[in-house]
Amino acid sequence: MPLDNVVFWVFAPLSIATAIGMMVVRNAVHAALFLVVNFFTIAVMYLLLDAPFLFAVQIVVYAGAIMVLFLFVIMLLGVDRGDPLGERLFGQRTTAVILAVAIVAEVATAIRAGVGFATRAPEGFEAANPGGNPSALADVLFRDYFFPFEVTSILLIVAAVAAMVLALRRSRSVTQREIEEHEGDDLEAYAMAPPGAPESMREGTR
C-alpha cells in the first residue's frame, strides 16, 4: 500500500470524526479544538495533493489565526458553558441529518459522473510547479490573479471597517439613556407576529 493511501486512510476518518466531534460536543471550546484538529487533517490532505504552500497557510491562517480568534471570542463572551442538549425545533436534527446525507449522495453522484471514483490524478504536477509550489503559485497569483488579489485588499478594508463600526459603538455617542429610551419600543416595534397567528404555531417554548 503506497504511503499516500495509508496517510489518506488514516487522516480521512480522523477528519470526519473530528468534524462530527465538533458538531456534537456540548462545550464550545471543545468544539473549537475539534475543529482545529480537523483543519490539521485537511492540511495533511493538501500535502497529499501536492500543495505544500496551502498546507502551511492552512495551519497558519486557519488553525493559527482564525481558530484563535474564535477561542478568544468564546472566552470573551463567556459562553463556554455549553449548549443545552435538547432540540427545541421539531424535527430539526433528523432533517439536518437526512439533508446532509442527501447532499453527500448528490455530490457523490455528480462526482462519479464527472470524475469517476477510480480516476487517479495524472502524474506530472511538478511541471505545473516550476521552481516549487510557492513560487509557482506566486507567478500565477501575481499575474493572472493580480486583480482579485487587489480586491481582497478591499475586502479586508471592509472587514476592518465593519469590525470597527460594530465594535466601537459602545464607546461612542449611544448612551445608556438612549438605550433605555428605545428599549421598550424596540420590542414593540419588532415583535410583530401577525395577529391571529395562534401561539401554537410558534415553535418551541420561549
Partner: protein, 626 residues
C-alpha cells in the same frame, strides 16, 4: 282616407304624449283631449272604411307605407299598415268603442288627481291596439301586442297605492308574457321558414296559400295560439283577467272586455290560413275555446263581485269566439267579437256606474234593488244582459246562434251540445247578475246616485249598438259583415246536413230562456237569503265556482311556494356555493399565508434548514435526468 290611416295611430299617440308629459297642467281638459283624439281616430278609420267599401271586393286589401324603417344593404324594411276588411273592422271597434269609453271616463275619472296620466295611458293603449290590428307584418303586430300589454299593466296598476291593483297589474303582465314568449317563438319559426314577417308572404295573398308543411304550420300556429291564449285570457293562461278588474272600470271595459283581450281572436283569425293548413291546431283552438267558454261560464256563477263575474263572462265569450275560429268560422268569430265589444263594454260601464254611485261597492251581496236608485243604469244593464244572453233580436243572438248552427252542421255533436250548454250558462249567469244587483231589496246603505249625463250618453250609444248591431250588420254567417270579411277570412263552408235552422233557433231560444228561468228560480228576490248563504251551505261547490275550479290557486301554489322556494334555494346556492367557492379561495390563501409563522419562525436555523433543503432539492436536477 286609407292613405291617412297612419294618422289614426299617430293622433292618439301624440295625444298620449301630451297627456303624459303635461297632463297635470291640463286638468280636466286631459280627458277631452284624449276623447277628441279618439274621435278623430275614429273618423279616419270610418273614412278608410268607406273608401274601402267603395272598392271592389277583390281590391280591398290596401297596404300603406308609412315610413322606411330599416335599411341594410339591399333589403329595406318599411313600416307598413294594412287596411283590409278585417283590420278596418277591428279598427272601427277599437276607435268606436274606444271613443265612447273615453267619453265615459271623463265623467268616471273626474275626481281622480291624475287624469292626464290616465288618459295618456288610454290613448297610448288605443294607439298600440291600432298598430296591432293595422299591422302588415308580425313585427309591428308584436310591437302593438306588447304595447297594449304595457298599457294594460299601467292601467290595471293605475291605482298602484292599492296593493291588489299593483299585484294584479304585475300578474296580468307576467301571465300574458308567457303567451307573448310563445308568440315570439312563433315569429322566429315564421322567420326561419319564410324569411320574412310580411303577412303577404307568410299568409299568402290573392288566395294563394303559403308553402308550408302541415307539421311546421302546426308548430307555428300552436305557438301563435299560445300568444293568443295569453292575451285573450283563455285556458290555461286565463288567471290574470279576473284580478285585472282592480283597474278603473273604463279600463276593464275598453281593454279587458272590448279590445285588447280580443287581440288573441284577431291573431287566430288573421293567421287562420296556417291553422287551417295544420288542422290539428284548429282542433286545439276549438277545444280551448269550448273549454274556456264552459269553465269561465260556470266560474262566473260563483262570483259575487260584479266585475269579476263580468270578467269570467268575457272569458266565456272569448271562448265562444275561439270555438268559432276553431271550427273554421272566422267571420263568425269576428262578428261575435264586434257584438261582444258593444254589450260587454256596456255591461262593464254600467257596473262602473254602480261603483261610481256606491263608492266602489261592487259585491252583489251588498247591492240589490238598484233599479230604484239607478233606473237608467238598470235599464242599460238589462239591454246588455239580454244581448249577451242571446235573445233575439239583440246582437248576441245572431252571433251565438250562428256559432251553434254551424257547430251543429259540422257533424261533431259534442261541439254543438257543449256549446249549447255554454249558451245556457251565459244566460244564467248574466241574469243572475241582473237579479241579484238590480232588483229585490236594497242591501246597501244610503242612496246610490244615478250617473251623470256625461256618463250615460255613451252608454246609450253602446246600448243601441248592442240592440241593433246584430240586425244591421246581420252578423250571421252570410250576413253583411261576413261578406265584407270574406276576402280576408274566407267563406264559411257549408257544413253537412243537420237539424234545420228553424229547429236550431227554437232550441237556442228555449235554452236561453231556460237559463234565465234557472237564474230567476235561484236568485229571485225571495231567495236572496238562500243564495247569499250559498257558500256556507255548499262550501265545496261554491268554492269550486268562486275559485274558478282552483286553477289560479294551483298556479299560486306552484309559483308562490314551489317556485319561490326553488328560487330561494338557488339564491342560497349562489351565495354559499358559487360565491362561497370564490371567497373560499380567498380565505384559503389568507389561511395559508397565516401559516407563515410556522416556517418563518424567526429561528435562523430553520432558515438554514430551508436553505439546505432547497439546495438539496435543486441538486436533484443535476443528478436525475428526466
Amino acid at each position: 282616407m286609407i292613405d291617412l290611416i297612419g294618422l289614426a295611430i299617430a293622433i292618439p299617440l301624440v295625444a298620449a304624449g301630451v297627456n303624459m308629459l303635461v297632463g297635470a297642467r291640463l286638468g280636466r281638459y286631459a280627458g277631452w283631449l284624449g276623447t277628441g283624439a279618439m274621435v278623430a281616430s275614429f273618423a279616419i278609420a270610418l273614412g278608410a272604411l268607406l273608401d274601402l267599401l267603395s272598392l271592389p271586393a277583390g281590391d280591398r286589401t290596401q297596404v300603406v307605407t308609412v315610413a322606411e324603417w330599416i335599411r341594410t344593404g339591399a333589403a329595406t324594411v318599411t313600416l307598413d299598415l294594412r287596411v283590409d276588411p278585417l283590420s278596418i273592422t277591428m279598427a272601427m271597434v277599437v276607435t268606436g268603442v274606444g271613443s265612447l269609453i273615453h267619453l265615459y271616463a271623463i265623467g268616471y275619472m273626474e275626481h281622480d288627481p291624475r287624469p292626464g296620466r290616465f288618459f295618456g295611458y288610454m290613448n297610448l293603449f288605443c294607439a298600440f291596439m291600432l298598430a296591432l290590428v293595422l299591422a302588415n307584418d308580425f313585427l309591428l303586430l308584436y310591437l302593438g301586442w306588447e304595447g297594449v300589454g304595457l298599457c294594460s299593466y299601467l292601467l290595471i296598476g293605475f291605482w298602484s297605492e292599492r296593493p291588489e291593483a299593483a299585484r294584479a297589474a304585475k300578474k296580468a303582465f307576467i301571465t300574458t308574457r308567457v303567451g307573448d314568449v310563445m308568440l315570439l317563438l312563433g315569429l322566429f319559426a315564421v322567420w326561419i321558414h319564410f324569411g320574412s314577417f310580411d303577412f303577404d308572404t307568410v299568409l299568402g295573398s290573392e288566395g294563394s296559400l303559403p308553402e308550408i308543411a302541415a307539421g311546421t304550420a302546426t308548430a307555428i300556429s300552436l305557438l301563435m295560439l299560445g300568444g293568443a291564449v295569453g292575451k285573450s285570457a283563455q285556458l290555461p293562461l286565463h288567471v290574470w283577467l279576473p284580478d285585472a278588474m282592480a283597474g278603473p272600470t273604463p279600463v276593464s271595459a275598453l281593454i279587458h272586455a272590448a279590445t285588447m283581450v280580443t287581440a288573441g281572436v284577431y291573431l287566430v283569425v288573421r293567421t287562420h290560413v296556417l291553422f287551417e293548413i295544420s288542422e290539428v291546431a284548429l282542433i286545439v283552438v276549438a277545444v280551448i275555446g269550448l273549454a274556456g267558454a264552459l269553465h269561465a261560464g260556470f266560474a262566473s256563477l260563483g262570483q259575487y263581485d260584479m266585475k269579476r263575474a263580468l270578467a269570467y263572462s268575457t272569458m266565456s265569450q272569448l271562448g265562444f269566439m275561439f270555438l268559432a275560429a276553431g271550427l273554421g268560422f272566422s267571420a263568425v268569430a269576428i262578428s261575435l267579437l264586434v257584438a261582444h265589444a258593444f254589450y260587454k263594454a256596456l255591461l262593464f260601464l254600467t257596473s262602473g256606474n254602480v261603483m261610481h254611485g256606491l263608492h266602489d261597492e261592487i259585491d252583489v251581496r251588498r247591492l240589490g234593488g238598484l233599479v230604484r236608485d239607478m233606473p237608467w243604469t238598470a235599464a242599460l244593464f238589462a239591454v246588455g244582459a239580454l244581448a249577451l244572453s242571446g235573445l233575439p233580436p239583440f246582437s248576441g243572438y245572431y252571433t251565438k246562434d250562428a256559432i251553434l248552427e254551424l257547430a251543429s252542421h259540422d257533424g261533431e255533436v259534442w261541439t254543438y251540445v257543449l256549446g249549447s250548454l255554454g249558451a245556457l250558462v251565459s244566460a244564467w249567469y248574466i241574469a243572475r247578475l241582473f237579479f241579484t244587483a238590480f232588483i229585490g231589496d236594497r242591501r246597501y246603505e244610503g242612496r246610490a246616485h244615478e250617473a251623470s249625463t256625461l256618463m250615460r250618453a255613451p252608454l246609450v250609444v253602446l246600448a243601441i249598438g248592442a240592440l241593433f248591431a246584430g240586425m244591421w250588420l246581420a252578423l250571421t254567417p252570410d250576413g253583411r259583415l261576413a261578406t265584407f270579411l270574406e276576402p280576408v277570412v274566407g267563406t264559411v263552408a257549408e257544413g253537412h246536413a243537420g237539424p234545420s235552422t228553424q229547429v236550431l233557433v227554437a232550441i237556442s231560444v228555449v235554452l236561453t230562456l231556460l237559463g234565465i228561468a234557472i237564474a230567476w228560480r235561484l236568485y229571485r228576490p225571495a231567495a236572496a237569503e238562500r243564495w247569499i248563504s250559498f257558500p256556507e251551505r255548499e262550501p265545496g261547490l261554491a268554492g269550486a265556482l268562486g275559485h274558478a275550479f282552483y286553477i289560479d290557486d294551483l298556479y299560486a301554489w306552484i309559483v308562490g311556494t314551489v317556485g319561490l322556494r326553488g328560487a330561494a334555494a338557488l339564491e342560497r346556492f349562489d351565495r354559499i356555493v358559487v360565491d362561497g367557492a370564490v371567497n373560499g379561495v380567498g380565505r384559503l390563501a389568507v389561511r395559508l399565508s397565516g401559516l407563515a409563522p410556522i416556517w418563518q419562525s424567526g429561528r435562523v436555523r430553520r432558515y438554514a434548514l430551508s436553505f439546505l433543503a432547497g439546495g438539496v432539492a435543486l441538486l436533484v436536477f443535476a443528478v436525475v435526468r428526466v
